[in-house]
Symmetry: C2
Subunit: 326 residues, 2 copies
Amino acid sequence: MINVGIYGYGNLGKGVECAVNGSPDMKLYGVFTRRNPESISTLTGTNVYRADDIISHKGCMDVLIICGGSATDLPQMTPELARNFNVVDSYDNHSHIPEYFERVNSSALLGGTVAVISGGWDPGLFSLARVYGSSVLPDGEHYTFWGKGVSQGHSDAIRRIPGVIDARQYTIPVPQAMERVRNGENPVLTTREKHTRECFVVVEDGADRSAIEEAIKTMPAYFADYDTTVNFVSAEELKRDHSGLPHGGTVIRSGVTGINGENKETFEFSLNLDSNPEFTGSVLTALARAAVRMRKKGEKGCFTILDIPPYMLSPENPEELRKHLL
Amino acid sequence: MINVGIYGYGNLGKGVECAVNGSPDMKLYGVFTRRNPESISTLTGTNVYRADDIISHKGCMDVLIICGGSATDLPQMTPELARNFNVVDSYDNHSHIPEYFERVNSSALLGGTVAVISGGWDPGLFSLARVYGSSVLPDGEHYTFWGKGVSQGHSDAIRRIPGVIDARQYTIPVPQAMERVRNGENPVLTTREKHTRECFVVVEDGADRSAIEEAIKTMPAYFADYDTTVNFVSAEELKRDHSGLPHGGTVIRSGVTGINGENKETFEFSLNLDSNPEFTGSVLTALARAAVRMRKKGEKGCFTILDIPPYMLSPENPEELRKHLL
């Protein structure tokens, strides 16, 4: 049995807890939190420990899944924890991955551990689709569409506008753009042509709705480059209709084969998720299995899902996989 | 540059030739054929050699892609050639893969070579989807739908019926079945509920069409368990409308997450291919790149796509992949 610790207990930590609980070859060691452990009751009843005391648990776990945010938590936590534990995280700041990889790699090499970073679905499973897709169809283009799904960052951005009480923002891919890609047109698509944004906003009594709508639609980086619709709803409606965290998306690689590129080939991977954090937690859990196996084979340092043989993520052994799933 | 040989020069061999020709890091060494080499002119003008003389080319190629049939060619060719060359093949007889793997493994270990078997899209990319899907969603079911596409085996079976001159058979997934799977119903589907078969048949003048239609629809193993439609067409129509070899299909993993399995998650991978042999050849070519890299790292023996780190299939190096595709 693989003994798993969870570091951080928000939505993602709970998703990991469910996934480990549902894995036949794993057991939960406990949850580490920066909050008061006595204030937390876990879904499975697993132990709760102080994050500050984690070093005293060295040797008790096979792998630690770090469930923090990419902005400030992970850049500090993962390099530090990789000195003493095999770790897995979901670092998703795409443009900073190369330097982050190097920092974690140095720590893991010093610690003699395996660190798997940037797990989840994007980066993660979508990265796999992009790499396999471009490897088998080098003469082509890849496209990533996100949604329909809740963007937490965009929802937060709306909440910061004066007069807004709560908000939920959905990122929605443009069906016509996806169809053009599927048809092998290899279109050049602007930001506006790929996705639209839909907002459900609860405002204070007497708030200036048209000013709030304008503030959302013109917000740089978040909304200005998109066609955005704003719906004002009551707090009850928001809770009733928009309390889940669904997400998903599609990676399409469209390419040509043949001596003159005369044949079109389309490679498509998509996810449709009721719960973004639970699914992300499930991917991290499969990667935790792989991290332990890699360490047992003598590996150390930093890795991503692109470096790991697929069989290592599965609870089944290679013989069973060849028999049932190949 | 990776130096690639092609063993067997039918549709698949030509597909590999196109793919190697389009790979920036590869060059073609030549084609090996059991036919008279002088009777063959290749698409790229690469050299044509006698298959019987291949041992005299030992050391001249980094990898040999074996393009033979799974029924009788590959079980004889791959174990033999793996004694002297790194090899890749597309062995697709699913139920015999475990014993085939062992035979090829023994040869490759003796020869100190790397053999990658069962490449292509199913087995191959679809196997990846099944393994990744079941690893991240262990509480779920997977479904494989094939088509719409041409089945050569079923087309051949029709051609063997007396009075039939030529035929093309399309395997078509049932949209309602796919929708039920996508909806997370995890249905138990019979053979008939998953796929239909559509046949285009050219018959001799005066042939008994209703007898031929009956012979097709009741043919055990091939058609009896399916809803089959038979269309009689002229030789000209068959050539004009049905001369391509399109194929494709979809793997869906549908599972649940959450402490009580309350959330549905759907994982879907699909291919839509104008040319089955060219796309299969493209996958084999990416695997040939991986085979050479694995041998350079000191590996030997038999492998499948499930054993190979994804980055090894790509012409880009791991740093570039982390920067651009992760």
